[in-house]
Symmetry: C2
Subunit: 312 residues, 2 copies
């Protein structure tokens, strides 16, 4: 037994990786996520894709250690998903269903936790870290002693929903008010930008845009647009506070920042670090910051690591 | 080998417990904490007290499994304390020093983490929990799979220093502004009460007091003093937010509330739970709440559990 698969199920595509047991990614590809009829085709499609790959490459099932699977919903440690809105799924054992379809052992985890595990394993190399993913929303994953922390309700690492503004009037996607996601996600940054432009007279290139994106704000700030710079100061302040708060709870060695917003690069790390120094508990001020390095492959690496850790 | 000691070093007294290996507390007593000369007498005093106890009760050293020790400062997993202001200690290996003095194996942990471990073991019986201690300050301890989480800088569970008010003008003991400790500790509750009375005209029995205590506020609220009730609503709101934020990070099965403020009892649990429902992420709303049950003995139970887990 030498090989296995890491699979990352997303709302629009499923990413699949073929790995050896040292963690070398030998091949990767994507298939579409078919969410019709409560996502009933998703797991059969994954199983078919894996079987086809093995047949085409003349690899015996006996050579396969198993499959690791990342799912974008709250997961129990036994492989049960507790509902997954994006995929149309209710509550069932993803692990059992996938094992029946694929005929090899399967391990399942939450996608954000597995992306963190992937970064811990093949990115930062740090066994005690928090990964924060700044995308459309704000997700997170906690790695403690090299293992992902799931939580009692599959909600460990849901750091996008810490409350940063008790008096926020607008509502977060989760139904609460004042969540980190409302200030630090790509959507949140655009929201802050619009609010800033409404409440200030500062001239800004952002005012001319038909439909502003998060990248527009970073680009304008880079081009010395002072309104965009002020907006990003707000973002960095919220992000620094969020990360400082997380450190008061779990005190990791390292914080890794990923997701679409992290494409802004060093300027984002520098800004967040500056406010982290303001908000962090003294003992945590030396916590290291880094950008995620595996990009979209973090999830398949982490899924395979989860399977390896329990099957090898 | 059948017995051992759990020791909880505080700023004014050291609590010592004599246990059997099932965790039954067979005897307990206290000695004073002598902090003069950088606290150089503390560990020798503990060793003397233990040796005297064994001699008086004719118990052989061979019957002693070891000593667990709780220290009120940031601890490395190897038993190194990274400075402890209360005791006058700098950085050194408490474990090595104590082993040389006592002649038996020693394990050392942070006192708040060990109080949480004690409550997990002999109080709540829950292996995945957060304990929050509302005393002069706000401390915390995290138990994951039955083990305390220390963090990379000994700061895991320092939940008193999450920032709840970004715009706070007064300074916390830690040097930051807006920490949970400024609103939810006994000191913080009195501070909120004074602020409320200054900014409102509401008549209140609290106005007549020479020097207000946290208990006065709870007593007045119980006697239907509307100002005191408003003040406690503020406290519950902050505490509910703090606990909801902690759950977004680590998602425990249970939250246990201890410390002097918790003597207020069920009314505190009910108040905090109410605001927890407002601020908590949906998946975490069913997290159970309980009052700590071991009182001042939590620390010696946890210290002994730490020693047992690694020595037996």
């Amino acid at each position: 037994m030498r090989y296995g698969f890491g699979v990352d199920i997303g709302g629009t595509t499923v990413k699949l990786g073929f790995f050896d047991k040292t963690g070398t990614l030998l091949d990767k590809w994507e298939i579409s996520t078919v969410t019709e009829n409560h996502g009933e085709a998703i797991l059969p499609d994954v199983a078919d894709s894996i079987k086809t790959y093995l047949a085409k490459n003349k690899i015996s099932f006996d050579a396969v250690i198993g499959i690791g699977l990342g799912v974008p919903g709250p997961m129990g440690s036994d492989g049960t998903v507790y509902g997954c809105h994006n995929l149309g799924w209710g509550t069932f054992s993803v692990r059992q269903a996938m094992e029946q379809l694929a005929g090899v052992p399967v391990r399942v985890g939450n996608d954000a936790n597995l992306a963190a595990l992937g970064e811990s394993w093949k990115g930062s190399g740090c066994d005690n870290m928090v990964m924060v993913t700044l995308g459309t929303g704000v997700g997170g994953g906690i790695i403690l002693n090299g293992r992902p922390v799931s939580g009692a309700h599959g909600a460990a690492g849901e750091i996008g929903h810490l409350v940063l503004e008790r008096d926020e009037t607008e509502v977060c996607n989760c139904g609460k008010r004042g969540c980190a996601e409302q200030y630090c996600s790509a959507t949140g940054i655009v929201r802050l930008a619009k609010g800033y432009l409404e409440n200030h007279d500062t001239p800004s290139v952002l005012r001319a845009l038909q439909s502003m994106t998060c990248k527009d704000v970073f680009d304008a700030a880079k081009a010395q647009d002072s309104a965009a710079q002020e907006i990003l100061e707000q973002v960095y302040s919220y992000l620094g506070q969020l990360l400082a708060d997380v450190c008061c709870v779990i005190d990791p060695e390292m914080i890794v920042i990923g997701g679409g917003v992290s494409k802004a690069g060093q300027v984002l790390l520098d800004g967040a670090s500056r406010y982290f120094q303001k908000y962090a508990f003294a003992a945590c001020k030396s916590t290291r910051f880094a950008l995620a390095s595996l990009g979209n492959d973090a999830g398949i690496y982490g899924a395979w690591k989860l399977a390896l850790d329990s099957l090898l």
